[in-house]
């Protein structure tokens, strides 16, 4: 097993090192710190800890730090990508390959797709430094390479954002 290989988690948890092997995103655009309760291809929860050192706070805004809504959507989309890649890992397990490897053509990061549409996204609370965003993604209808996903982000018991994303397979 090479250092870059990632396996399907038996308890549905992925730490940030595992996530870096699942997603092609890197600083400053890796927007998810941890994933848990991941049911491959169906559902997942994730955490994004928001610190004052986030690069976007330098300009959004200089005198009042507010996490841009589009960055919350990006964090949601990255959780969706983790749920997707977990599904690919599960199929790999089923085929008894056992793991996907960044050094081979079976790099899971190569399968991460694109954001196709953002529908009815509602932002109901400001997200500021010190907040811990708890993300949730539930996969919905699928047609061709497209999939509809219901997503939400909360801080504590307060809903920060919720809506529907359409994502595409690569």
């Amino acid at each position: 097993m090479s250092a870059a290989a990632v396996r399907l988690s038996s308890d549905g948890r992925y730490d940030s090192d595992a996530i870096k092997r699942m997603l092609p995103h890197r600083w400053p655009m890796l927007m998810i710190d941890r994933a848990y309760d991941v049911e491959p291809g169906k559902f997942g929860r994730g955490i994004k800890c928001v610190t004052v050192n986030e690069p976007f706070f330098a300009g959004h805004y200089p005198d009042q730090s507010i996490m841009p809504g589009v960055m919350i959507i990006e964090a949601m989309a990255q959780l969706v990508a983790v749920v997707y890649v977990a599904e690919a890992l599960q199929s790999a397990d089923a085929e008894q390959f056992g793991e996907l490897d960044a050094d081979t053509a079976r790099d899971p990061r190569a399968g991460v797709g694109y954001l196709g549409a953002v529908r009815q996204m509602k932002f109901s609370r400001l997200v500021v430094p010190g907040d811990q965003l708890v993300l949730e993604a539930r996969m919905g209808s699928r047609l061709g390479g497209l999939r509809s996903v219901n997503v939400s982000a909360s801080v504590g018991s307060e809903r920060a954002a919720a809506g529907t994303l359409t994502v595409s397979e690569r």
Binding site: G116, A117, L143, L146, R147, T166
Partner: protein, 97 residues
């Protein structure tokens, strides 16, 4: 002059017209299309030169039909996207007992 048979046919036709109109209103509302239900014909294609929907709209349509009618459209059922009539035929074929 009206015999019972033609009257019942007329009722059926009116019911179908109403259902198609409701489906058109639903599609226009969910996809935020810039047109009225009256100008959408029952047989015009939903894609290309018809309603000009794209693949992202198709998925939204799948979600809408699932939510509103409890009918799932899969990759094997793409003929349902040929027209309003085709879509309504598909929905009715999956909902009538």
């Amino acid at each position: 002059m009206t015999n019972p048979t033609s009257a019942s046919v007329r009722v059926q036709a009116q019911e179908r017209f109403d259902r198609n109109l409701k489906l058109k209103e639903l599609i226009i509302d969910r996809l935020s299309l810039d047109r009225t239900p009256e100008v959408v014909s029952d047989n015009q294609p939903l894609f290309g030169r018809g309603l000009e929907l794209d693949s992202l709209d198709t998925l939204e349509l799948v979600v809408t039909v699932n939510n509103e009618f409890g009918v799932a459209i899969t990759d094997d059922d793409t003929a349902a996207f040929n027209s309003i009539n085709a879509m309504m035929d598909f929905i009715e074929s999956r909902t009538t007992v």
